[in-house]
Symmetry: C2
Subunit: 345 residues, 2 copies
């Protein structure tokens, strides 16, 4: 990926928090260190998961680690997040999530009752999402060397179509849909972590998306690309897709739902909701003539009452995202360039 | 699992290092907290991985997190360990390892050159084992909240036979084979960590086992059970299998190869090599009439010159492991009951 953004990182030879923030530094790290070491010709590290065939079955495979603080927050906890996050990454590949693995890294001194509570939450989330937790691992690190509890989940799903939705399928003319309001997860976690006083008023949107995606597929909607805007928020997700697909995306800010409590918190904290993490929302790129049908499915889903068509793919000779602002004017969006909300995933 | 061992853990309501040691406390934690939360009727959390069908394909799926200190040690590093460990868990299920996911948890301040070195080691190990690293994730935790670098890998493999080798297939009369000498990995890591002065003399046995397992399958050897004796060592692994299978296993200590440097280090440190971790060895349970053929395959493999038939399954009315000692006498082995070698995986 060529990066035109002028933020310097020459001489940055150590890992910074922003390398995990989902934005520019993380993308550079992946491009410069991870991808060259790992990828062979056909691998697409820009997507939420890998897609491959085994013995005639077409599978999706994905992983995420979860280091969120605090472990419990309004609307979820590290356990439900670890299940739903991986379920959603599989769904974004157009796959039905089936089986999850769980790797716990526990800090010496962690109360076992807390682990029990997290495991029960994982089981409940797995049951709700229709997946099974089938294999696992437990490691313990010395007191002070961990931070209570980290969880990795990996997931295997079955592709629902011959061609998996992916950024390279995005076309000029595609409509861009958003499945609900944005910013809940990041603000809920930040409030619970920092004690801003409005915690509880805002709940994380943490939820499984697979059922909604399966309904889109069952309805025959041609899905070019789907992505859940987690770390880095909606803006970073759209910029990633625009750059990978080599297209220009034009979005109307007025069409993006932000609840009043989230908007108020963002104003108080100087945050842009477009860059705040979500854990139960996704964007879908579909042919414009399928947009109405897709929107009806999204609006019918839990939490989907504010689903909307937020924009369209306008050209294929650019790699940018343009936002038509609420009060007029158009600006280009870029990836999150720092660490807006530490440890929200 | 009912545990007859009298080590008390009532009142232990926090995680201790020994909960990650591969021995008794870890098994209790899994039995009491993890399994009840996760498992449904058919899940077998006692094995190295899960086995299931997707779209007509029979797959194995497994995960492990790696928190070894130091990150680099004679014979390997956290990267090669993370690849080979998961490759080997798939092989122990009788599967050809195919695809791996990688989750990095990085501590703020980690030199990026170190991450680069680890990623290159992972790629080299993946190439050597014939697997591909196809999807990944990177998280960053604050300085002081991690320990440099943790890695989780999960893996997907294709079963080579209709019935996956598993403890429940072990039968009285089965021969027990061991693929080489034991104790190298645990001692190599401990020496590198603690600076005992003999570091370098002992290299980890860290290596991929899949090619050897595939040769056993290609040779038509009926594999009842395979397991790589990592955390907890050979003794704990055999006790796990005896308890899960409901059989008695009888082993001859004289048939178990321990190199002179490892034996010397164990004597110096007061360790029993039977409880020291390995990362490139496995035990195989096969019908006695296949034992000779299996042994020939093991001896022909890299590092297999000391492969041996170390014992047999003697009864099915017991759940114990009996060791005929070097100097006469027979004793029952138990699982590792404390934390012998912290953070060796």
């Amino acid at each position: 990926m060529s990066l035109s953004c002028p933020i310097p990182d020459a001489g940055n030879d150590i890992i910074e928090l922003a390398h995990g923030g989902g934005g520019l530094l993380m993308h550079r790290l992946i491009d410069r260190i991870i991808r060259p070491a790992f990828a062979t010709s056909n691998d697409d590290f820009t997507h939420d998961g890998a897609v491959f065939d085994v013995g005639g079955a077409r599978l999706a495979f994905t992983t995420d680690s979860y280091v969120v603080r605090p472990l419990f927050f309004p609307g979820g906890d590290i356990g439900s997040l670890a299940v739903n996050g991986t379920v959603n990454d599989l769904a974004m590949c157009g796959a039905r999530p089936l089986y999850l693995s769980v790797g716990f890294i526990l800090e010496e001194g962690l109360p076992i009752t807390l682990l029990h509570r997290v495991a029960a939450s994982m089981r409940a989330a797995a049951d709700a999402a229709g997946v099974r937790l089938v294999t696992g691992d437990t490691k313990v690190v010395e007191r002070g060397k961990g931070d209570g509890l980290y969880i990795n989940t990996a997931g295997v799903g079955a592709l629902r179509s011959a061609v998996a939705p992916a950024p390279r399928l995005v076309r000029p003319g595609d409509a861009v849909l958003l499945s609900g309001d944005i910013g809940r997860h990041g603000i809920a976690v930040m409030a619970a972590r920092e004690g801003f006083g409005f915690e509880g008023a805002i709940e994380s949107d943490c939820a499984p998306l697979a059922a909604t995606v399966m309904r889109l597929i069952d309805a025959g909607v041609e899905l070019h690309c789907m992505r859940d805007p987690t770390r880095g928020g909606l803006a970073t997700t759209l910029v990633e897709i625009a750059r990978t697909a080599g297209v220009e995306i034009r979005i109307a800010e007025a069409s993006i739902a932000v609840s009043e409590p989230v908007r108020g918190a963002c104003e108080l904290l100087g945050l842009d909701p477009l860059y705040v993490a979500n854990e139960g929302r996704f964007v879908a790129f579909v042919p414009v003539d399928a947009a109405g049908q897709a929107l009806a499915v999204l609006r019918d889903a839990p939490g989907g009452s504010e689903a909307a068509i937020i924009g369209r793919v306008t050209a294929n000779n650019s790699r940018s995202v343009l936002l038509d602002g609420l009060i007029g004017g158009t600006r280009a969006l870029d990836m999150l360039s720092g660490e807006q909300l530490p440890r929200i995933c």
